[in-house]
């Protein structure tokens, strides 16, 4: 008898690249046995713009705006990492005032990034309400960015050596006010979700990644911390004066989607804590280190990384002594974390795919570069 489609137990299902829950142009090919996922394969590169190639054809300063377009919901973090890497290559440090402002803006950006994640992820799972609230608060952050540097999303807030712009009048008050307004809102999001039966049922024990697997796959950021590893580059290798601030590293226990959610919620509160300390003591002084107009780092190579909202964001920059980088390698947290998707999804249900992609919190601009 001829075998038909109905006889086969395996089904190959295509998800994306145009799919509302993949948060961009991610394509995942799923191999299914009934509703069970028995294998996945990611197809990426749809958003590849050759950023690393572009860097070799621009001067150091000209390349700065390009890095904003990697993780476009956390542009400030990308810029910080790149500026720190070139500053390391030049062996200069941004002045204290610039460093403090950098910390404030980067932490605001971390909150903004987590808010986008929370809103869209909750939407994927079926909770429509949080999206409106999270974007409402994110708007306050966007307004601060806009007032500071004129841009909301691709901010280009920092320059190599410090900052381009002095703070606007009333910056401190506005940031303080944001902190006061925002902190109770986190509790409100939690009221909607944390003990919500559907939310818990969809997230608990879904997409478990153990600490060992995290290390094997190089997974960093909130995903690693949710697996119980208390590791944050802001503490492990402090930069921009993070050692001066008091904050905790929230961790989870099970490494499931629910823990990743809890870790990110706690991280937003910690970010507020850092911002409050930083804004209370912005030192006076210059905002730009003494640097020549033409930047020509000596021949050499450095690797500098920061704790971006998604994990370890590293820049490996090679200088040949000219005005243009010889090579800029971006070590993107989203790209590396995405590799663990298969490990997390295997054995789960199709419906869980959406939850797992959601709590991985990837941005395709950074995966594909």
């Amino acid at each position: 008898m001829e075998s038909t489609f109905l006889d086969s137990t395996e089904l190959v299902l295509n998800m994306g690249p145009q799919h509302p829950s993949t948060h961009g142009v991610l394509r995942v090919i799923l191999k299914l046995d009934g509703e069970k996922v028995i294998g996945t394969e990611c197809v990426i590169g749809y958003l590849h713009r050759g950023v690393e190639k572009i860097s070799e054809n621009r001067t150091y300063q000209m390349f700065t705006p390009y890095v904003d377009r990697l993780d476009y919901v956390a542009a400030v973090s990308n810029g910080l990492g790149y500026c720190l890497a070139v500053e390391k290559l030049l062996n200069v440090e941004a002045p204290p005032r610039a460093q403090t402002v950098r910390v404030i803006l980067t932490e605001l950006n971390r909150i903004a990034s987590h808010l986008v994640w929370l809103g869209t992820h909750a939407l994927d799972v079926g909770a429509i309400t949080p999206l409106f609230y999270t974007f409402r608060e994110r708007e306050l952050i966007m307004n601060i960015f806009e007032k500071y540097c004129g841009a909301r999303l691709t901010t280009h807030a920092f320059r190599i050596g410090g900052l381009q712009y002095e703070l606007y009048d009333g910056f401190e008050e506005e940031v303080k006010q944001f902190c006061d307004v925002f902190l109770p809102k986190v509790d409100e999001y939690e009221q909607l979700l944390t003990e919500n039966r559907i939310w818990v049922a969809r997230l608990k024990n879904v997409g478990i990644l153990s600490a060992e697997d995290c290390k094997a796959y190089g997974v960093t950021g909130p995903v690693l911390r949710a697996s119980g590893v208390k590791w944050d580059l802001r503490k492990a290798k402090p930069y921009s004066g993070y050692e001066q601030y008091e904050f905790d590293i929230p961790t989870g226990e099970n490494g499931d989607s629910y823990d990743r959610y809890m870790v990110r919620m706690a991280e937003m509160r910690q970010s507020v804590r850092i911002i409050r300390q930083a804004v209370a003591r912005i030192p006076e002084g210059p905002i730009m280190a003494k640097l020549p107009k033409v930047i020509k780092p000596p021949v050499g190579e450095v690797y500098v990384s920061i704790e971006a909202p998604k994990g370890e964001l590293g820049y490996f920059v090679v200088s040949d002594g000219s005005t243009q980088p010889y090579r800029v390698r971006v070590r993107p947290p989203s790209f590396v974390n995405l590799q663990a998707l298969d490990k997390m999804a295997r054995g789960g249900l199709v419906a869980d795919m959406v939850v797992i992609i959601g709590t991985l919190d990837i941005v395709l601009g950074e995966v594909d570069r």
Binding site: I44, G45, H48, G50, E52, K53, I54, E56, N57, K88, L89, N91, K215, A216, Y217, G218, V229, W231, A236, K237, P298, V299, G300, E301, V302, Y303, S305, E312, G314, F316, V318, D320, G321, Y326, R327, R329, R331, F335, V336, Q339, D368, R369
Partner: protein, 193 residues
């Protein structure tokens, strides 16, 4: 790039009396510690150099030594997190590519780099057996530089389309270059520029 370098050679030939300007190199400092002593003892002449640049530690090893060193560092020195694998292209060198492995140890809070030089066509061994994360990282190096890793379970392109010709991050691949055949066939346009 190619034009510049030949121009430079001509100039050198003409004005040979004038002291030739030495090519600038990285001014490194030696790196000495308990760890380097143990590595030296274990791997001997497999490791060419221990150095630091701006307080960042790295070692230069022969390409055959990379995987044993990674294994040793993971098993006995707690370097359990492979941060990144990448390459740098120096087309004028005989050993054309620098392969760079960045390692981190959670227990020591220490980050080191392992570098090696390979020529075009040399197939370095894969690190997937030691660190699972090497899978995609090596695929990206293959995609961008055309360095094939021997023993890799899935040596395909990762960011560029699979049928694409050429490896974009090589220095002899101009920034405006594209695989015209691929663009015409798949996008139905004459040029993507």
């Amino acid at each position: 790039m190619a034009e510049e370098s030949t121009g430079g050679e001509k100039q050198k030939a003409v004005s040979s009396q004038a002291a030739p300007k030495p090519a600038p190199t990285m001014t490194t400092k030696p790196w000495e510690s308990e760890l380097t002593r143990r590595l030296q003892e274990r791997f001997g002449d497999q490791i060419v150099e221990f150095a630091t640049y701006l307080d960042q530690e790295f070692l230069v090893a022969k390409p055959e030594g990379i995987i044993p060193i990674l294994e040793f560092l993971k098993a006995e020195e707690e370097f359990d997190y492979l941060v990144d694998i990448t390459a740098v292209d120096y087309p004028t060198r005989t050993e054309r590519f620098d392969l760079v492995y960045i390692l981190y140890s959670f227990a020591r809070n220490q980050r080191i780099r392992i570098k090696t030089r390979i020529s075009d066509g040399y197939k370095p061994a894969t690190a997937v057996g030691v660190h699972a994360t090497a899978n995609w990282l090596e695929r990206e190096v293959f995609d961008m530089f055309g360095v094939e890793f021997a023993g890799h379970p899935d040596m395909r392109r990762i960011l560029m389309p699979e049928e694409w010709q050429g490896h974009p991050l090589r220095k002899d691949y101009p920034i405006v270059k594209q695989d015209e055949g691929w663009v015409r066939e798949n996008l139905g346009i004459e040029s993507g520029q």
